[in-house]
């Protein structure tokens, strides 16, 4: 006679039956001008459903990104930028993205600012010199004023943007992490990961950690370290990992190279001792915002801000070649 196993009453296999580890499935495509990868840990029996879900989410990310890009004149974002009126109604997706942009600005003490498109374009063109903080926009920032506001119609999820004359938006600095978070929320599997061109939203199931390498911008085949992100004891846990730096989007000769990360107080590319910063946080949006802040403010002020935040860790490559980290990061460093 067999002893009664209460697990069988809940449709669970007997205790001595090994539970098969879920397979790691991946869907790769391109979006937002870079790579988009969706990884799911699902039982082999659910592989087909998982692949379908990944394709759906991938298509949705592409649709969101098309609304928010500044590289397409017909996007919702560029229609807003082209509109001369001080108050402009915006749709739900752009309103949600701008709402997050405002929160990112608040989290980072204004270091992350999506209203600096003009300064970035001038940096790309090489027409902006360091310390050009004399225009009215920079002066307003130094007084702690935000150049724009968003009011949201909660019923219809749309919004209205009110902005100072000449303000145009660039969501490149906040959209990828935010989109990764939104995409992850649409994946129903306990273990899932969305890699939006290096900004990553991940959900780890209990006992199924995800390992994420921190890229070395000096060597494609090297990593600065590996982050092991565990699930909770009884439930899945969500993280964001994002990296920002000055090794990409550089223009001009190396001796006077300009990059895309604009310091809001100067309106010019940030002068920083940080080559690259990686942050672990509760969401990819937060991680992206904090990583940019460290690069923009420099290691001292940037890490000071992040150390006081809810961020879970930070790894920073300095311009003298050293890699440093907040001590709290050590629990994730494999």
């Amino acid at each position: 006679m067999h002893a009664f196993d209460p697990r069988s009453a809940f449709g669970m296999p007997p205790a001595d039956t090994p539970t098969p580890s879920p397979a790691r499935l991946v869907h790769r495509t391109r979006a937002m001008g870079g790579r988009l990868e969706i990884h799911v840990a699902a039982p082999a029996s659910d592989a087909f459903a998982a692949q379908q879900e990944m394709r759906r989410v991938s298509a949705r990310v592409g649709a969101w990104a098309a609304l928010l890009t500044r590289h397409e004149p017909t996007s919702r974002l560029m229609r807003l930028n082209a509109d001369p009126r001080p108050r402009v109604a915006v749709g739900p997706t752009l309103a949600a993205a701008l709402r997050w942009a405002g929160e990112a600005s608040d989290l980072t003490g204004g270091a992350v600012d999506v209203s600096l498109l003009e300064a970035r374009l001038r940096a790309e063109e090489g027409s902006l010199s360091e310390g050009a903080a004399t225009d009215s926009r920079a002066s307003a920032l130094l007084r702690g004023e935000r150049a724009w506001e968003l009011s949201v119609d909660r019923r219809h999820r749309s919004g209205t943007v009110t902005r100072a004359p000449g303000v145009r938006f660039d969501l490149d600095g906040v959209a990828k992490g935010w989109l990764a978070d939104r995409a992850l929320a649409r994946l129903r599997w306990p273990g899932a990961l969305v890699d939006a061109d290096g900004d990553i939203a991940v959900r780890a199931a209990p006992g199924e950690p995800w390992e994420i390498g921190i890229g070395d911008p000096r060597d494609d085949d090297a990593i600065l370290g590996t982050l092991a992100l565990p699930g909770g004891l009884v439930a899945a846990r969500t993280y964001g990992v994002a990296t920002s730096g000055t090794s990409v989007h550089r223009w001009g000769p190396e001796s006077a190279a300009r990059h895309h990360l604009i310091h809001p107080a100067t309106g010019a590319p940030a002068r920083s001792d940080v080559v690259q910063a990686t942050v672990v946080a509760a969401s990819a949006g937060e991680a992206e915002a904090y990583a940019k802040t460290i690069v923009i403010l420099g290691a001292a002020a940037g890490l000071h801000l992040v150390e006081r935040s809810d961020a879970l860790g930070a790894v920073v490559l300095l311009d003298d070649g050293r890699t440093i980290a907040l001590p709290r990061t050590s629990r994730f460093l494999a």
Partner: protein, 95 residues
């Protein structure tokens, strides 16, 4: 930890470093600090690294809030088991 950092005293800082060295930092790592309330440039980092190496009881040159950091080992070859990597977005321009 934050109370000790806010105090800015070298004694508290030394105790904190000892605690972190014993409890949280891998054996291969070393400790340095980053001065947080001065202008952010490379010199600041190096200046405070020097402060940390001062013997206990020697006052720091300036008062203020410090952020403790650990220094990681040199980069390593990417293991084949690591299939996801966080990177800067876009094409890296190597020096």
């Amino acid at each position: 930890m934050r109370l000790a950092i806010a105090a800015g005293g070298v004694a508290a800082l030394s105790a904190l470093i000892a605690t972190i060295s014993a409890a949280a930092i891998p054996a291969a790592a070393s400790v340095t600090t980053v001065k947080a309330d001065a202008p952010a440039d490379t010199a600041v980092v190096r200046q405070v690294t020097r402060v940390v190496k001062l013997p206990p009881g020697v006052a720091a040159p300036t008062a203020g809030t410090n952020v403790l950091v650990t220094q990681l080992p040199a980069p390593v070859a990417k293991p084949r088991t690591v299939v996801v990597t966080t990177t800067q977005s876009g094409q890296v321009v190597k020096p």
